[in-house]
Point group: C2
């Protein structure tokens, strides 16, 4: 009764959004702080009679603001319904097959490939969970997808390495910068777009703007790549970004002061949480994100600790997958949430 | 630089959303009335701090309300980012190839097929623009997509004919009911879902709920078809429906009184507009939608009239396409807008 393609899908599994009881949610890399107060203000004064009309299909006002913010032309910006949708259109528009990405990375990449019938293979991260750059530059590939910083590892590639991959590879490169705003050791590679027509940089309002609930993401790339993405979008859904989301994202983008304040708080809490975990025997990878990828001290398995935290009302993310089956991905919460996490760990570890 | 698939796309072209000056917009079948006042109320009291969290991926509250409204189980309801997205997932999940639809119908259907590489062919409508039912029942097809009422023709199939197609065809049938709420001569075929596992009915909040700007649509079908659609969605974007859209659509769905009032006004204006156009020599097809498909009186071409109306600040939809190149699709506006249209036509016709 269903299509052969649909029958063979193995969908992406997002972190759980539990409804049974109240948890401290450190499992989906959400920002612990609410969005800018200007978001509520902008939506509350919205003229709701306008909802009878289709939204601006190009999200022009938001597109212009993003272009100015990123210091590129409007023709270099694509907007979509969250960076998950943006990535889906990017995989469709930029890749024919033989796509490569790390063995440990955002697990939606193989799902996009399967959805569209795009062939792919995984290139192993090094033992320290960093990307082996020469794997991407020394032989030709059909396409490259790199999350930078990577998830769930939290580790960032240096900009020079990204530039080397973009320069030396002869294929399109998607750099997924969902977490770049929390990075201290790396910077966005958007400035490389100007000289590299094969680079597409994807960003999101979900994490650093605290707008996961709103579903707005964007891509920056050459006019040619962006046009191809709009062709894909306009062959799927002409208006993925609703009028309220366009309004709210614009308000958030403009409040730079609030953005910086939240970002700095998250970075500060992250760094102190890493210290506290390490002092308790955890192996914590150096994080450039709003989460930590941590291996519990010897004698405590990743799955065991995940379950014990859950019993104690704290959700973190665990994958029973090769190389990472002893690690937990822990989102950086508020200071209070972090204190609760440490107290609970101390209780569990004893 | 771009994928072969993307290079060959011919995207759907939506009716224009002009920014140059103020028009009377009778070109995209939007509702002339604003959404229920309860939409603004629900959004204004929304707790905006919740936007930091991902939205409910299943839109559970809205799904439950739609299921109750449609008198089906929650497992029979799929929600998406406008019925365009819902249709896209439906084509992916239900069709392998050899899909058929009328030669004159929603022009997104062939675009979805091309996006996914699904083969299709067009079956000609009869000379009076009605569907030739036996074309769909007398030989096997890989899938069927029928808009009922059809667009841009405005003509509805009787429920018995829909039932015959669903019963006698041995394939999945998508019935796209974007305009069903404006129908007097036909009713929704959702009640058929119970006994026909091959039927998927697609509806939208864009037209009859005046929420085109919000992007919410849904499908009703068997548990098996709906599961396949969720597998497709979760392989594309886990959260296409943002938290504000879920809240607003729920508020609109609950205000039945306002819904009925707007619907009746649109139907009444439509019927009087049809009479006024016919008295001026237009050939107007019998409409079960919120638009009319009208052929101007002899001596006046469709394209010519489209251009003259545009010069006079009125937008309608025109296609330079076989069989319909002398017709205009005119959205039913408010009574004031309709009066302006008639005045302008009288000026043009002389």
């Amino acid at each position: 009764m269903i299509s052969a393609k649909a029958a063979s899908l193995i969908p992406y599994t997002a972190g759980e959004q539990p409804k049974d009881k109240k948890y401290i949610k450190l499992n989906t890399n959400e920002n612990p702080y609410p969005p800018s107060p200007s978001v509520a203000r902008a939506v509350r004064i919205f003229d709701f009679s306008r909802l009878k009309l289709y939204p601006d299909p190009d999200a022009s006002a938001l597109r212009k603001a993003v272009a100015e913010f990123e210091n590129v032309g409007e023709e270099n910006v694509f907007l979509g319904n969250g960076s998950d949708e943006v990535l889906s259109f990017a995989f469709y528009a930029l890749f024919d097959g033989n796509v490569v990405f790390p063995d440990i990375t955002y697990s939606f990449y193989p799902v996009y490939c399967d959805y569209y019938g795009i062939t792919y293979s995984r290139l192993p991260l090094k033992a320290d969970f960093t990307v082996n750059v020469s794997d991407y530059t020394d032989k030709p590939h059909g396409g490259i997808a790199i999350a930078n910083p990577n998830a769930p590892t939290s580790v960032a590639l240096k900009n020079a390495d990204i530039e080397r991959i973009v320069k030396e590879s002869e294929c399109n490169v998607i750099v997924d910068e969902a977490y770049i705003d929390f990075s201290v050791s790396a910077a966005s590679c958007v400035p490389l777009v100007k000289n590299h027509g094969n680079l597409l940089v994807v960003k999101t309002f979900s994490k650093s703007y605290s707008l996961a609930g709103l579903r707005v993401g964007y891509a920056v790339g050459s006019r040619e790549l962006i046009s191809a993405m709009y062709a894909a979008k306009n062959s799927f859904n002409s208006y993925p970004l609703d009028a309220l989301a366009q309004t709210a994202a614009l308000a958030a983008l403009r409040d730079r002061e609030y953005f910086d304040e939240c970002r700095e708080k998250v970075i500060s809490t992250r760094d102190s949480l890493a210290v506290r975990l390490r002092s308790r025997g955890f192996d914590v990878l150096p994080s450039d994100t709003n989460f930590l990828f941590a291996k519990p001290p010897d004698g405590l398995g990743g799955e065991e600790l995940y379950k014990k935290l859950r019993e104690n009302g704290i959700l973190v993310r665990y994958w029973n997958a090769p190389r990472i089956e002893n690690r937990l991905r822990i989102t950086v919460g508020s200071d209070d949430e972090t204190d609760r996490l440490i107290e609970t760990l101390d209780k569990i570890i004893g």
